[in-house]
Amino acid sequence: MDELLQALAQGFLVGSTYGLLALGMGLIYSVSGLVNFAHGDFFSLGMYLCFALFSAFALDPYVSLVITLPAMMLIGAGVYQFLIRPIAGHHLLMVIQLTLGLALLVQNGILMVFGGQFERTPSIVESKLVLLGPVVVRMPHVIACLASFGIAAALYVLLRSTDWGRAIRSVHQNAKAAALMGIDVGRVRMLTFAAGLGLLAIAAALIVPGTPMHPSLGLRYTVITLIVMVLGGMTNFVGIMLAGLVIGISEALGTIYLSDMLGMLMPYLIFVVIMLLRPQGLLKAA
């Protein structure tokens, strides 16, 4: 029983960060119709930036966010403006190829600079444990979970009830009509791409304490993120957070009750089963 509760708690906490990763991807998809296959590698980049700042200045990952967040947003704006925008409107396959190419570029860049060994970035809170009844969880996971839900809620309100959010949604629903409202469609797309990478910087700082990093893990993060986004209904942010929890919990349960190997496969299995039953995603797309 305790074991089950432990797995559920662990899965819930990790799942919320999967949700956060997928929110970034969903945001970009919703305004540009672009699935960013480099998402996981940019996330890796965010983690390695934390690592570099720790190695050089002994900055705690939470603190290094003041540098990594603007840095990642700037990278996002640049990538959109100089790489994605020029081929926007071309065949979908070209855009997919471009983001796949970016994934390889980022991955190999990291490999070149940091080498192929596993690295860790510690934080002062890393070894702190939190007791919730019979369940023991690590402090960074609790922080990550609270922050993920906080950011998801803030994003939800921003998109629902501000002009900025309405502009983003209008570009998603009809780009031409948005332009006729006087909205600068190209600028909105660039800013949301930057915001998507900004979310990755935040996710990286939240996940990095105690999580081993390796240049090759980017693709795995991309796939998990993609699964969560599709399961959540692509652009439905409530659905995406829920899907993150489903995937996180299924992974944790699989790891405890089956084996490490099978646990890692659980999310994919769950994904296939849910997509067979509800191809439109967990909740109806908003």
Partner: protein, 234 residues
């Protein structure tokens, strides 16, 4: 108020408009007629700046706006109500109206403009919280016009507002347009509906394969034999 000189435009090297010259005086209701594919939508998209002009000049209140972005034109009060309405389907009627006034010029008085639009188009008031995609075609056209009006247009350009509507709604749309015109708004009305447009407008242009073939006071355009031939494609 608006002068267009020698406007040429097209898509990927295929010219659609050739040497179009049009003038719209302040407070006038000007009709732009033409058969399918004559280039009417291309023309007002050029005026909105979403289709680039390859040559020619567009002057708005004396200012050359030919190279301005769509955003700058909206801020100057050049507002298009597009063909096919293009409401934001997953947003409520209120959110659609809010987006109409999202540009920097209209933003400060947006709340009053929305009240004005809801008084003018009471049907929208009943549907205010409903997703725009669930409205009937006629209601969506009301919304598209209302959204355009929230933007505080100085020149309102309507692209086939009667397209696909039940006769009752066509009637209603033209009543609204007359009312706006009577209140002093400058309107460019793009239509295929020959007789209705001629009856309601001050001045008309007839476009055929990207060229203006007839122009004049609406009563004269009606009697010009070239108008019929432009329509029948003879």
């Amino acid at each position: 108020m608006l002068e267009v000189h020698g406007l040429t435009a097209g898509y990927g090297g295929n010219p659609v408009l050739e040497d179009v010259r049009i003038e719209i005086g302040r407070g006038k209701l000007v009709g732009l007629l033409g058969a399918n594919n004559a280039g009417k939508s291309t023309f007002i998209n050029c005026l909105s700046g979403v289709v680039p002009a390859s040559s020619g000049r567009i002057l708005f209140e004396g200012e050359d706006i030919t190279r301005l972005s769509p955003k700058s034109r909206v801020e100057r009060g050049i507002i298009q109500v597009p063909e096919g309405r293009l409401v934001f389907p997953d947003m409520s009627v209120r959110e659609n109206l809010l987006l109409g006034g999202v540009n920097a010029t209209a933003r400060p008085r947006r709340a009053e403009r929305i009240d004005y639009v809801l008084d003018l188009l009471p049907r929208l008031k009943e549907r205010i919280g409903q997703a725009a995609g669930t409205l009937s075609g006629g209601e969506q056209q009301m919304l598209a016009i209302g959204r355009g009006l929230v933007a505080e247009p100085r020149l309102l350009m309507l692209d086939e507002p009667s397209l696909g509507l039940a006769p009752r709604f066509v009637q209603y749309v033209f009543e609204i347009i007359d009312k706006l015109h009577a209140d002093g708004l400058t309107v460019l009305l793009v239509e295929q509906n020959l007789n209705l447009t001629l009856r309601h407008s001050d001045y008309c242009y007839v476009l055929e394969r990207g060229r203006v073939v007839v122009e004049g006071v609406s009563a004269h355009v009606k009697d010009d034999p070239r108008t019929k031939s432009a329509y029948l494609g003879l």
